[in-house]
Amino acid sequence: MADVDVLMPSEGESSVGVSRKQHLMSTFESYRAELDTDNERRERLIILSRSITQLSKKLIFHLHRNATSPSSQQKDKCLREGRAKEREIWVNFGKIKDELKSIGEGDEALKGYWRWNRQVSPGLEEYIEALSFLYYLEHKSLVPLDAVQKTLSDEAGEPLVIVTPEDYILGMSDLTGELMRYATNALSTGDHNTPLEVCEFVRTVKAHFDGIPPHMLYKLSKKQEETTRSLEKIEKVCYALRLRLIEFADKPEVLAMMAKRALEDAAEREEKGRED
C-alpha cells in the first residue's frame, strides 16, 4: 500500500496542471495493479470455497444414503468412505493456504487470511457441517472446536485456515437439520434408538444456543428458527415411535411397516409446507 504513493511536490502550486494529472495517472496505475492482483486472488479463493461447499454437500448426501443401513458392515464402509471424502476436501483447504502463502510467509499469510476470510467462510461453514455430521455418526457425539481446528491443520499441526467460535457455532446449528433427516431416515429402517438419541442431542444443542443473545450472533438467531422446526419434527417422530413401541413391542414387522408410513406422511407434510 505505502509503495503505491509517490510524494506530491510539497510546494506544488506552480506545477499544478499537466504535471498533477500525470502524477495522478501514475499513482492510479499502481492502484490498478494492486486492485487487479486482489481481484484475481479473490476469484481464486471464491472458486476454492465453492468447490469445498460442493464436496461437503456430497459428503453429507453420501452419509445420508448409507449411514442408516442396517448392516453394521455397510455402515462402517460408509464412514470409511466418508473419511476419504473429508480428506479430499482437506486438500482444497491446503490450496487456500497455498494461495495465502503466495502473499507472503508467516504473518503476511495470516493477515491475508483475515483479509480474505469472507471469501473462504461459506465453504468453511459447509465443511464444518459435514465434518460434524461425520463425527456424530462415528462417535455419537459433538465434535469439539479444537478437534475441528486440528482436522483443518497440516501434518505439522499448522492450521490451514482458522476456525473461529462463530464458524463453529453456525456449523453446529446447521448440523441439527442434518440430524433431523438422519433420525427420520433411521426410523424407516426400524432403527428405534437413533431418533431418541438424536432428539436428546438436538435438544441439548438448541438449549445452549437459546442462551446466546441475538445481537451477539445475528445469523444464529435466524438459524435457531430452523433448529426449532427440526426439533419439533424429531419430537413428533419420537412421540409416534414411543406409542408404537408400547403397542407392538412383540411384533417387530408391524413396527417397521408403521414406521415407513409415518415417514411417508412426514415427507408429504414437508412437501406441502414447502408449497405453502
Partner: protein, 231 residues
C-alpha cells in the same frame, strides 16, 4: 444404550458447547470494545465535517482557516487511534476492518476536501495515514486500505459540485474552475482502474455526474465571460 452412558454423553456435549460459547462471547466482547473505541474518533470526524460544511457559506477569505481547523480537529484523533490499535490482535486488522473502515473513509473524505482547498492537490494515502498518526510504531496494526482510501476520495469529490455552485452564488468565480480541473483529473485517474461490481464501482459511477455538474458551472461562467483566461 445404558442410561449412564447417555447422561455422560449429554454432559460432554454440554461442556463442548459451553466452552465454544464462552469463546464466542470473548470474541464478540472484543468486537464491541473496538466499536466503542472508535466512537470518540467518529465524534471528531463529525466535528470536522461540520467545520467543512461552513465552506459552502463562508466568504472565500475564510476557506483556508476552515480547512486548517478541520485538519486540526482530525489530528486530535491521533492518540485515540493508539487506543484502538491496542485492542486489535497482531495481524488481525482485517478481521475488524468492518468496524474501522467507515470511519477511515469519512476521515479520508474530510482530509482530501480540506487539502484540496488548501493545496489544490489530491492528498496521497500515506499523507492521510500520517495525519491520522497511523504510521507510528504503536499503531503498526492499523492501516488505511486502498479500498477505503479510494472510496474516501470519491466522498470528497461528491461534495465539490455543491461547493462549485455555492462559490458562484458568493461571486467566487475562480473556485469552480479549480474544482472542475481537479474533478477532471480524478475522474481520468479512476477510469484507469478495473473495477468489479462492488461499492467502489458504485461510488465511481457517481463521479460522472459530479464531473458533469462541475463542468456545467464552468460553462455558465464562460458563457457570461466571468472566467479569467488561464495563464
Amino acid at each position: 444404550m445404558s442410561v449412564e452412558a447417555t447422561t455422560s454423553r449429554a454432559q460432554t456435549v454440554s461442556e463442548t458447547l459451553s466452552s465454544a460459547i464462552e469463546l464466542l462471547e470473548n470474541d464478540q466482547n472484543l468486537k464491541k470494545q473496538i466499536r466503542e473505541s472508535i466512537e470518540p474518533i467518529d465524534d471528531l470526524s463529525r466535528s470536522a465535517t461540520t467545520e467543512l460544511n461552513k465552506l459552502h457559506s463562508a466568504p472565500f477569505s475564510q476557506h483556508a482557516e476552515i480547512c486548517q481547523n478541520a485538519i486540526n480537529i482530525i489530528i486530535r484523533s491521533q492518540p485515540l487511534w493508539v487506543d484502538v490499535a491496542k485492542l486489535i490482535p497482531e495481524n488481525e486488522f482485517y478481521r475488524y476492518q468492518f468496524a474501522l473502515g467507515p470511519t477511515m473513509r469519512q476521515l479520508t473524505t474530510s482530509i482530501v476536501l480540506a487539502r484540496f482547498i488548501l493545496h489544490d492537490e489530491l492528498t496521497p494515502s500515506h499523507t492521510i495515514s500520517t495525519i491520522l498518526g497511523l504510521q507510528s510504531d504503536q499503531n503498526g496494526v492499523l492501516q488505511l486500505s486502498a479500498e477505503d482510501y479510494l472510496q474516501g476520495v470519491i466522498g470528497a469529490v461528491n461534495e465539490l459540485p455543491r461547493l462549485s455552485v455555492n462559490a458562484v452564488t458568493s461571486q467566487n468565480f475562480d473556485l469552480p474552475i479549480k474544482i472542475s480541473s481537479f474533478v477532471n483529473d480524478i475522474f481520468a485517474s479512476y477510469s484507469l482502474l478495473n473495477l468489479r461490481n462492488d461499492a467502489l464501482r458504485r461510488k465511481f459511477d457517481s463521479l460522472k455526474y459530479d464531473l458533469k455538474r462541475c463542468e456545467d458551472v464552468v460553462y455558465d461562467l464562460t458563457l457570461r465571460g466571468l472566467t479569467k483566461p488561464r495563464e
